[in-house]
C-alpha cells in the first residue's frame, strides 16, 4: 500500500514537471506548426537562470521563479525574430532541423558559460521539510510542484478561453490566412506564442532546479521525454499535454518501482503503441 502511494505521488510530481515542458511544446506546435527541438534547452536555461540568480547572485528563490522565465522568454522572442520567422512556410523537417541547430548552440553556450559540472539549487526554507502522507514521507517541495502545475494549467486555460490575447492566439492557430485578413498581426502573435511557450518551459526548469541536478545534459534528456508526452497526449493539444504528462509520469513512477529492469524501455513502448494505434494521440489534435 505504502509503495503504491509513494509511486503515485512520484508519478504526479514528475507528471507536473513534464506537463510544464510539454504544454509549451504543444502551444508552439499548435500555433506555429513547428516541433521545437530546442524546447528542452530552454527548460535547461531556466534551471541555469535559477542557479545564477540564487546561487551566484544570492537572490531569493522567489525572485528567480519570476525573473528566470521572463529572461528566457525575452531571449526566445529574439530567437524567433532572428531565426525562426524565416522558415514558417517550409516543410516541417526544415523547422525540426533549425530548432535542432538552436539546441546545439544553446547546449554549447551553456557549457561555455557555466562549465560541464553539476550545479545545485537549494529550495527555499519554507519548502524544505517533509510531511507524512498515508504512511509515506513526502517532501513539502513536491506539494509546491503540484501547486505550480495547477496554477499554470488553470491559468493557461483561463488565458486561452477568457482573454482576447488567448483567443487571438487560437485564431492564428486555426487559420493563419483568415486571421491576417481580419487584421491580426500574425508575426507578432507568433513571437508572443514562442516566448510564452519558452517561458513556461523555463518555469519548469526553475521548479526542477532544486530537485534535479543541473547539468548540460538535462535539456536533451527532457526533450525526448516531452516528445513522448506530446505524442501520447496528442501533438498540439492542450489537454493532451496534461494527459500525456500524467501517463508518462505514471509509467516512470510505477515502472521504476515495480518493473525496474524494463523501466527505461517502457516509455518508448508506450509512445510507439500510441503512435501505431492512434497517431494523432489520445486527445487528438485541437487548436490548442
Amino acid at each position: 500500500m505504502e509503495s503504491v502511494v509513494a509511486a503515485l505521488w512520484n508519478s504526479l510530481e514528475l507528471g507536473v514537471l513534464l506537463f510544464l515542458i510539454a504544454v509549451g511544446l504543444n502551444i508552439i506546435f499548435g500555433v506555429l506548426n513547428i516541433i521545437n527541438f530546442a524546447h528542452g534547452a530552454l527548460y535547461m536555461l531556466g534551471a541555469y537562470a535559477a542557479f545564477t540568480l540564487t546561487g551566484l547572485l544570492g537572490l531569493p528563490f522567489w525572485i528567480a521563479l519570476i525573473a528566470g522565465p521572463l529572461l528566457v522568454a525575452v531571449l526566445a522572442a529574439v530567437v524567433e525574430r532572428v531565426m525562426l520567422h524565416n522558415i514558417y512556410d517550409r516543410p516541417i523537417t526544415d523547422t525540426l532541423l533549425l530548432t535542432f541547430a538552436l539546441l546545439l548552440i544553446i547546449d554549447e553556450a551553456v557549457k561555455w558559460v557555466w562549465g560541464t559540472g553539476i550545479h545545485i539549487v537549494e529550495p527555499p526554507e519554507i519548502l524544505a521539510g517533509t510531511f507524512s502522507l498515508l504512511g509515506t514521507q513526502q517532501s513539502v517541495y513536491s506539494l509546491f510542484v503540484l501547486a505550480v502545475g495547477i496554477v499554470v494549467g488553470g491559468g493557461l486555460w483561463l488565458f486561452f478561453t477568457r482573454t482576447l490575447a488567448g483567443k487571438v492566439m487560437r485564431a492564428a492557430a486555426s487559420d493563419r490566412k483568415m486571421s491576417r485578413l481580419v487584421g491580426i498581426n500574425v508575426p507578432l502573435v507568433f513571437t508572443a506564442v514562442f516566448a510564452l511557450g519558452a517561458g513556461i518551459a523555463a518555469l519548469g526548469g526553475v521548479i526542477a532546479a532544486p530537485i534535479r541536478a543541473i547539468s548540460p545534459g538535462m535539456g536533451s534528456n527532457i526533450i525526448v521525454e516531452s516528445f513522448i508526452v506530446v505524442v501520447i497526449g496528442g501533438l498540439g493539444s492542450f489537454p493532451g499535454a496534461f494527459l500525456g504528462a500524467i501517463v508518462l509520469g505514471a509509467i516512470h513512477g510505477f515502472g521504476s518501482r515495480f518493473l525496474p529492469e524494463l523501466n527505461i524501455v517502457l516509455p518508448f513502448i508506450g509512445m510507439a503503441v500510441v503512435l501505431l494505434l492512434k497517431p494523432q494521440g489520445l486527445m487528438g489534435r485541437s487548436a490548442i
Binding site: I35, M83, N86, I87, R90, I92, T93, D94, L96, L97, L98, F100, A101, L102, L103, L104, I105, D107, E108, A109, W112, S220, V224, F227, I228, V231, L235, E261, I264, V265, F268, I269, M271, A272, L275, L276, P279
Partner: protein, 323 residues
Amino acid sequence: MNSWKLLAGAVLAALLVALWFLPSWSPYFYIFVATEILILGLFAAGFNLVFGYTGMLSLGHAAFFGFGAYVVAMLALHLEAPLLPALAAAVIGSGLLALVIGFFCVRLTEVYFTMLTLAFGMMVFSIAQQWRSVTNGSDGITGFPVSELGLGLGLTLGNPAVFYQVTLSVVVLAAAVLYIITLSPFGLVLKAMAENPERVAFTGIPVRRYRLYSFVLSGMFCGLAGGLFAPFTRVASPEMLHWSQSAEPVLMAILGGSATFLGPFIGSAIFVLLETWITSFTERWMLFLGIVLALMVIFLRRGLFGTAVDFVLARARRRDHAA
C-alpha cells in the same frame, strides 16, 4: 551536357586514385581522418536514401549504425570472425532490424514518422544500455581482435593504412551499389514519392511497401558503415545508438546537399575536417556546427555541393540554349 558528365567522371576517378595512394605520402593522422570521412560518408549516404530520396526524416538511424557495430564487435570478440563475413552479418542483421522497425514506422508520415523512428531508436539504445550480460552495458564492447579480412588475403588490418584501403574499397563498392539503386526505376519511384506520394499512389504503386524497401536498404548500408566503424575505433558502445548520433548523418546530408548522391559524402568530409580543424584550437565545435547548420537551413537549403551542381547545370543549360 555530356562533356560535363565526362569531366565529373574524370574528376571522381582522379580523386579515387589519389585517395588510394593517400597512405604513401600522408601522415597517419590524415589516414585516420580519411577513414572516418569514408565511413561516416557511407552512413550519411545510406541514411539519405530515406531522407533525401524518399523524403522521410528518420531520427532512428543510429540504431542500424550501432547495431552493425555491435555485430562486428561481438563476432570478433566471441568467434574471432574475419572482417568480411562479419560485415556481411552486420548488413543482414541491420537489414532485419530495419525490416522490423520499418514495418511499423512506414505506416506513419511526416512528423509522426520522425517521432516513431526516434522512439524505436531509443528503445534499441535502452536495450543495449540495460542488457549488461550481452552488451556489457554502457562500457560497450572493447578488446576484440581486428586481425584478418577473410578471403584468404593475408592483410593485417591492425595497420591503419591497410584498414584505410580496405575501408576505401568497401565504401566505394557500397556507394556504387547505392548509386545504381538510386538510378534504377526503383530509385525513381522513391524520388517521385518524395515529391508527391499521392500522385505516385494513383499510378498503382504501393507507396507504403516502397517506403519499407527504402527503409530496409537504407538500414543495411548504415549497418555496413557501423560495421566498419567498430574495428576502426575498436569499440561498440551504446552512444553509437543514441538519437544524437542519428543527427550526425542528417547534418552531413544537409551540409553537402541531400538532393544529390555525392552530397552526403562531401558533407561528411566537410563535417569531419571542420571538426578536426576547429577542435584543434577550441572545444566549442558544436556551437560552430549549430550556427553553420542554422545558416544552411535558412539560406542554403540545397547544401554546398547541391548548390554548386545547380550552378554548373544552370550555366550548361544556358550555353546549350545559346548554341
